[in-house]
Amino acid sequence: MARILLVEPDNDNKYPPIGLMKIASYHKSKGDIVEFYKGKAPYILINKMDRVYITTLFTFYYHHTIDTIIHYSNYINGNKIYIGGIAATLLQHDFFKDTGLKNVIVGQLTDSSIIGYEDHINIDNLPLDYDILDDISYQYPAGDNFFIYTTRGCPRACNFCAVSTLEPKFKETNNIIEQITSIREKYGDKRNILIMDNNILYSEKLEDIVTNLISLGFAKENRTYIKPNSFEIIMGKIRRRQAAGNSWIQQEELLCEYLRQFKRKVTAKNTSEQFSDILNEINSADNKYEILFKYENILIEIIERYRYKKPLPRYIDFNQGVDVRLLNKKKMKLLSIISIKPFRLAYDNVNMTKKYTKAFQMAYDYGIRYFSNYLLYNYKDSPNDLWRRLHKNVQLYKEKPDIQAFSFPMKYAPIDRCDRNFIGKKWNKKFLSAINVIINVTRGVVAKEMDFFYKAYGNSEDEFIKILFMPNEFIKHRLFFEQKGYINLWSKCYNKLNDKEKCDLALLLSGEQDKNLTISKNIEKILPFYKITKNAASRNYLNLLNKNVELLGNTRLQHGI
């Protein structure tokens, strides 16, 4: 019986580590004790382990991941550390070099011999072990869903995408019913399903997949989800953790807290008294689990009587999106009978506009009302392209007031780089930081409302470029600086710049200017605006600006507003 530690570096991830959950299933089936830790575990824990598996995700977290790996290699022999995941696959040689470790696994674990076992199990096909997520206090925002694959790989091989390296071959793996049934039996039902396929529309078995999803309760407008009895779920967790040799103190506390909160829902007098007595006995007991076990059936019955059991709709999320180039009426008709939310479409360049619009319209015609749209930028596109795509979206959304829709601009970062500092040919550092500031206001989302869009991104491509040139502080606190008159002044200076001066200004603001660059008078006038902070403007430190004011004539900044 071995002790296995599964590690994920402590980044804020939305999705749980699916690879580690499969490895957990594998090791638990061998009778090993498996623990999960997020970040750098203490020496006293690492010391006891026979193996450590460390997952890796984005390549731009490379240095942080290396730091985590080195922490573990400080305390445990390097032969016992296994590194895998997306970044490890894409940057295998860098991991070898920077960690000095040899067990850097590329691709999926399709055979347990890759990690030194002789039972030749396809670990990648194993069901996920959700119990390991209770080993840590971090809550994955999308943790409590079914995660499944029906296909692997994607034949497109887009240059910006890592899938062709990670999953070179496209293949069908549809065993949804088996995957979901086994999870339901062991861990209880979950409401939603995340289908992680890279390009599901390539599947020749789409009809089977849809049929299977309907049979599992994911038909459109069917309300089939009733939240399971939490008491039963947590008791099940405790039992499994006891059997697996894991600590279950946290789950016990969680259960006691759940019962305390549930007490107010028990309205019948006698039952309420009975419930309170049981609760008191639990609270005063040294061994709470014993008491919980003693009254398990009674508590299940009481909770069953009073808990919320209204059926809720279920949703399917094709997490990697739907390929607009492959969407046709036949496929759309199939997809329209399952409850997809949101319908994710990629709009990666302006040349796709016709196909994208057609796909969007088709989805709407077949009853889709929740949309999510990814827009790649900082790749081969230009800022103008981005504005056109964003604007197109907002126009499409405006014509359909009964939809909910969001656009997500996604900045391109090459998959073989260890940071996010890549700058596209038609972009510069200033523009990229300005986009960040605009997007951060709404946490990365571009909403569908037109007035907000025009305010944030401008009424035209030229206005968008002008906003990108604006001092970031002005972009961030637009209303404030407008009211104070700073933006107006800045605009006057900006409008005097010719095209060459604008290029020079962009270089200067990006810190990429040539040392022989001659700064024109117009640029000299506009540069001081980039030093102004909201704090300074609030306190009316106007000396520098007032000099500019004199040069510009009679325009005055408003004071004391």
């Binding site: 575990a41 203490p42 020496y43 006293i44 824990l45 010391n47 006891k48 026979d50 400080n74 305390y75 445990i76 022999n77 032969n79 016992k80 206090s137 600590s247 103190i249 506390e253």
Partner: protein
């Protein structure tokens, strides 16, 4: 860890109905790295520690603080050895002052008995090689956990909201490593709160609570110490009414100054 005298288990009531081993002494078992062919690492020593669970900072006159390092029963360095080694490691944990500060209120020993760790000539540490480097990493990790615990405890003490409590529990779990020490973190945590409530009641800020109730704990403590001294002086001089005037003046002008 069973301690026997004449074949009989030696137990002493440390607190009410608690054995000495139930007094929340925590053990870290120290082993060398395991071999390449899965042979377990040799035991190199043991670290035991306890701490007074006082969340607020300890007084400077506590001379018995810290983890004393002993190699083959000879003391290495001083009370701040752990801080020194951590400060000299490649990983940053905290400033030197913070490292020494966090050892106050912690009591324990690091007992090393290993042929692979050779004392240096000054008997303040071990000769620099991969084994002492490995030990330094362990000490750095301990100090990192202790720092995290102290920091979260301080945050929780100043703001007892749920997230801070969660972080405190996590930090404590990492430090005391629940399953080897059979310590119920939840009970331990509650006892921490009890201890600190009673400590505050004992101190009973006589002046600070009235004169500056909304200021931070640090300020109130400093003010209290100062006013107590001043009060004692004027009491000795039998000029209590001047003390009252002085106090009223300070309170009035402090309010104006802080605005």
């Amino acid at each position: 860890y069973s301690i026997k005298l004449n074949g009989k288990e030696l137990r002493k009531n440390y607190r009410e109905n608690k054995h000495v081993l139930d007094s929340n002494i925590i053990f870290w078992d120290l082993r060398a790295k395991s071999g390449a062919n899965d042979t377990p690492g040799d035991k190199i020593g043991i670290l035991w520690f306890t701490f007074n669970r006082k969340l607020t900072s300890s007084k400077k006159d506590d001379h018995d603080y810290g983890i004393i390092v002993r190699s083959k029963n000879i003391q290495m360095g001083n009370n701040d050895t752990f801080a020194d080694q951590t400060f000299n490691s490649k990983d940053y944990v905290a400033t030197y002052r913070e490292l020494t500060q966090m050892l106050r209120g912690v009591y324990g020993e690091l007992l090393i008995n290993s042929p692979t760790l050779k004392d240096n000539a000054r008997r303040e540490w071990f000769k620099i090689d991969e084994n002492s480097y490995y030990l330094k990493n362990i000490i750095t990790d301990f100090m990192r956990r202790l720092h995290k615990y102290r920091y979260s405890a301080s945050k929780y003490y100043n703001n007892a909201e749920l997230n801070n409590k969660k972080r405190l529990k996590e930090a404590l779990t990492d430090l005391v490593s629940v399953d080897t020490n059979s310590i119920n973190v939840n009970t331990f945590n509650d006892e921490i709160n009890e201890d600190n409530d009673s400590i505050d009641k004992k101190i009973g800020f006589q002046f600070a609570d009235e004169d500056m109730p909304r200021e931070s704990l640090t300020k109130r403590r400093a003010y209290e110490e100062l006013m107590t001294l001043i009060y004692e002086f004027f009491k000795k001089e039998r000029k209590n009414e001047i003390f009252l005037k002085l106090r009223a003046y300070i309170k009035r002008n402090y309010d104006v100054m802080s605005k």
